[in-house]
């Protein structure tokens, strides 16, 4: 609340107004993906491979089609051929071709007049498989004798002689690595592993698709990016992109997982085959876990050199990642974030992307960065501990500042890493006394943030209220923050602005709400569009007054004569200008299409206190502090919510979440009972500190805040467990059996 007083220049920015979607959501009125219905709608169900890797010998739908009410069955034969690159990957992932590549891979789909009938019909579709050798573990998948999953899938980057499942290889870095390590007083190298985790959004994928023989289609879908759904479905089905119109529903969480397609093209293919009737497809939780995109699993070697005073002299990271049976794991992002917090004279990064018999990875909040942080921030902590140095002091000593060259190349513009470290150090949590079996862990994290294709339009209504049409679905309160920025710019009450997330037919293309870009990019675009409308309103007032438009200022929601004309006419309020617009030149609006420049990166520092039960290995989070640079918090409550949500997901990843595959390559925990995301009572109230180092690239100083928060928790929790127990865990999840085994190993019993 103190924040509200921090920016006296603003009337609305920094206030905690009600979110416009709140009432609908708490009363159950909000319409999510599965809530849409259309007349004559059919219901679909997918048939999924029970094998991790199997040749599809035969698919026979005769018995399913014989059921009364079954309207269509589709297989890969109903999709166009000849796709290449990512288009082919998407098509192959949505519907298996000759080979099922993972447990849960769709091999057929059916549409019928009821959901139960569709499920019964799916069971009657006979699929004959020839099981093939499989591999699901990243370190097994990179072995030279591993079963080759997709021979020929490797791109030009892979040197000859690499193991068969390596499909991408790269190196980058700068400085003299050997000299750097030679300069260090201590050089340590360790290997770390993280398991694949799922975003865990509460709303499963759901859509209604309709596609006629004329190639015109409609889709209603839960998604982070309706234009992505449009181009992806068009590519997979061979449609003309603009002939498909995609309308996003309210969204029950995405976290990156809803920036791609899984069932959406199937609903369109079924619709087309069923004579153009709309087809609804809704995934079960089990389907979500087996067949949508989790993040990658990683195996990571890290080496760091440090002087006795804590100065880091060199860093090396060699990462292996599997993102399923397709390329696309966040390997580049992981390596680029690995040492991003540190000013390093010499740094080397090597990446191996590996295929495995798992579902195709999708984005998950700061893709790649949490794994990299787990490896690097754990090793920094290990070395600091060995040298007897304070973890925040070590990080401050090496922290990057504005103008420094980043580990991945570019020089940093304005950044706030040092400010987050100082704020963490000054926070009461960092001095809280610890009891027996308790320990404190610190880690920093980084995310670049992103701009992306952005189209926004805004228009003034007849009564002087305003509407804003944006293409970025609201996954974290962005309608409230966009409304605040537009209202602040116009000088009108927040309640006078309505922000609409619109369908693909309403705007030029937009990238999804990903890359922490919605408040930055759509926000900047909305402000620019609003300024256009303001300029037009000033012109209308100037015409009315018979003065030059340049001699009109916009002040507190009104045009007002300025300069030599100051005071000559009373201010003309927005409602007055709007009320006359039909007779003064027609609609008043503004719009923006482009790639908003000036993205501001966000650093964060987390401090966690844990207590570990030495007899069971169970970890309790006692206190958790997130300090992060928001640039400027437009709506502090939603910024804090992003910080807390990222921390909660990261804690789950650190402690208990993991994809558990059996020897047979099948996923054993395809449900929330055994895929253990934290429940509310597992976590304390997560403390937050919003650091504000304004981003000069945004009219109100916004940096993205959505992703950085998931980056530090993995190492912060590991560092705290090490402090509490003396046992260092270099592999996730740090669940009770793993922690107990590690404690026993260090205590010799």
């Amino acid at each position: 609340m103190a924040k509200d007083e921090m920016n006296p220049a603003f009337k609305l920015i920094g206030t905690r107004v009600l979110r416009p979607d709140g009432l609908d959501k708490v009363t159950g009125r909000a319409r999510y993906g599965a809530d849409f219905a259309a007349p004559g709608m059919l219901f679909g169900a997918a048939v999924r491979s029970p094998h991790a890797h199997a040749r599809i010998k035969r698919i026979d739908a005769t018995r399913a089609l014989a059921l009364d009410g079954v309207k269509a069955v589709v297989t890969r034969a109903d999709f166009p051929t000849g796709l290449t690159g990512e288009d082919w990957n998407l098509q192959e992932n949505c519907m298996a071709g000759d080979v099922a590549l993972y447990d849960g891979h769709a091999v057929a789909a059916v549409a019928a007049t009821s959901a139960l009938l569709a499920q019964d019909a799916a069971k009657l579709i006979e699929v004959e498989y020839e099981p093939l050798p499989h591999v699901t573990d990243v370190d097994d998948a990179i072995k030279p004798d591993a079963p080759a999953i997709r021979p020929g899938a490797a791109d030009h980057s892979v040197p000859d002689g690499m193991p068969p499942n390596v499909v991408r290889y790269f190196e980058f870095g700068h400085g003299d690595l050997d000299a750097g390590f030679a300069e260090a007083d201590i050089v340590r190298a360790q290997t770390y592993r993280t398991e694949a985790t799922h975003q865990g959004y509460i709303e499963p994928q759901a859509c209604v698709g309709q596609l006629g023989a004329d190639g015109k289609g409609e889709m209603w879908v839960t998604t982070q990016g309706q234009w992505y759904v449009r181009w992806m479905c068009a590519a997979v089905l061979g449609l003309e992109t603009a002939q498909l119109r995609v309308t996003p529903s309210e969204i029950g969480g995405g976290f990156g997982g809803k920036t791609t397609v899984f069932i959406e093209p199937l609903s369109l293919a079924l619709s087309r085959k069923a004579g153009g009737k709309p087809v609804k497809l809704v995934m079960s939780r089990s389907d979500v876990l087996r067949a949508t995109g989790p993040t990658a699993s990683a195996s990571m070697d890290v080496k760091i050199g440090m002087k006795a005073d804590g100065t880091m002299t060199a860093g090396r990271a060699e990462f292996r990642m599997q993102g399923g049976a397709f390329p696309g794991s966040p390997l580049n992002e992981a390596l680029e974030c690995a040492f991003a917090a540190y000013k390093l004279p010499a740094v080397e990064h090597i990446g191996h992307e590996v295929l495995a018999n798992r579902p195709k990875a999708a984005a998950y909040r700061a893709p790649g960065a949490p794994m990299a942080a787990f490896a690097v921030e754990s090793l920094v902590d290990e070395i600091a501990r060995e040298l007897g140095l304070d973890p925040i002091a070590v990080r401050l000593k090496n922290a990057v500042r504005e103008g420094d060259r980043s580990s991945y190349g570019p020089r940093y513009k304005s950044i706030g890493l040092v400010e987050t470290l100082e704020a963490a150090k000054a926070h009461a949590n960092y001095a809280a006394p610890l009891g027996p079996n308790q320990g404190r862990g610190v880690a920093t994290g980084y995310w670049f943030n992103h701009n992306g294709d952005t189209s926004v339009s805004m228009a003034i209504a007849e009564d002087g209220t305003a509407q804003v049409s944006v293409g970025t679905p609201d996954i974290g309160g962005s309608r409230a923050s966009l409304g605040l920025m537009v209202a602040e710019t116009l000088g009108i009450p927040y309640e006078h602005v309505r922000v609409n997330v619109v369908e693909t037919g309403a705007l030029g293309i937009n990238e999804p709400s990903h890359g922490s870009r919605a408040t930055f990019a759509s926000g900047k675009a909305a402000v620019i569009a609003t300024e256009q409308a303001i300029a037009e309103m000033c012109r209308r007032a100037a015409a009315e007054w018979g003065i030059e438009p340049e001699a009109v200022d916009w002040v507190e929601g009104a045009a007002q004569p300025a300069g030599p004309n100051a005071g000559k006419f009373p201010p003309m309020k927005i409602a007055e200008i709007a009320g006359q617009m039909s007779s003064t030149g027609g609609p008043i609006a503004g719009h923006y299409e482009g790639l908003p420049e000036g993205v501001g990166a966000s650093f964060g520092t987390h401090v966690v206190d844990v207590e570990v039960d030495p007899e069971t290995g169970r970890t309790t989070i006692l206190r958790y502090l997130v300090v992060q640079d928001a640039g400027r918090a437009i709506h502090p409550a939603y910024v804090e919510g992003q910080f807390q949500g990222g921390a909660a997901q990261g804690i789950g990843w650190a402690l208990n979440e993991a994809y558990i595959y059996g020897e047979d390559g099948r996923l054993q925990n395809a449900g929330f009972l055994d895929y253990r995301i934290p429940v509310a009572c597992d976590l304390p109230m997560i403390d937050t500190v919003i650091v504000e180092v304004p981003n000069p690239g945004h009219p109100y100083g916004v940096r993205g805040v959505g992703e950085t928060g998931i980056t530090p928790p993995l190492p912060a929790v590991a560092n705290a467990i090490a402090a509490a127990t003396g046992a260092r865990l270099r592999r996730l999840p740090m669940n009770p059996p793993a922690v107990l085994a590690a404690i026993k190993a260090v205590r010799g019993g």
Partner: protein
Amino acid sequence: MHYHTPASFEEAVRIAASAGGVTRFLAGGTDVLVQLRAGAVTPDDLIDLKHIPGVHDIAATPQGGWRIGVAVSGAELGEHAALKRDWPGVVEAMELVGSTQVQGRATLTGNLCNGSPAADSVPALVAAGARVAVTGPQGSREMAVEQVPTGPGKTALGPGDLITAITLPPRGAGGGDAYQRFIPRTEMDIAVVGCAVNLTLEGDVITQARVALGAVAPTVMLVPEAAEAIISTTLDSDALEALVKVARSAARPISDKRGTAEFRTDIAGVLARRVAELAYARAKGRAK
């Protein structure tokens, strides 16, 4: 699928005996309905027991124990002060099952008949010496709770047999019981190991005890050796050490996605000690 609402247990038995296909009895439904929705079981006959008189009652028995109807929910047990005073371990075990919403439906009898080795209430019932009344085509009989489960998902109840009530013995003086489970989270999980201890004191000395372990064998197991390790002791450190050893050697767990055999064996000992200490403190009136 046929849905039945018999007005008596006899009628329920008749319906079950004449049904040809898959039959399920429905009380709280927190297992049956979940299995049904997941497609794991599609019953031909679903026999709802909630309309039978008395199934919602918690009644004192003439002997001084308790008779708990088959449709009494966990939440109702938790609100029953006298029952909770007598058998806090049984009530706390049942209250660990599921969420608040599930607590409004889930029953002790259902938890028992589901046949899970990890069922939370079952070790507590076994330790308490609870018995079940069974009615079936062959008439009525009584069984000890530990005789009901025979393997994962399996029970000793024959076709058409159904439990009509669970009885808890009189608590008597100097008694205390307790149940704890180990889960990685704080709630909404299945026991990796569960342990219940029920004991009676004369002065500081344990005169009677029953120890039960869950999730470390194909069924919830009564561990007489564990009881022997603490009977005639004051639960001193030697007795606790012996209890830990016996509990670990009695455990015959498997490794699965919820925990390794080694971990479960370890935790069986840890829980046995912690739960015995809590039951002892309750018997002494030092803990609730």
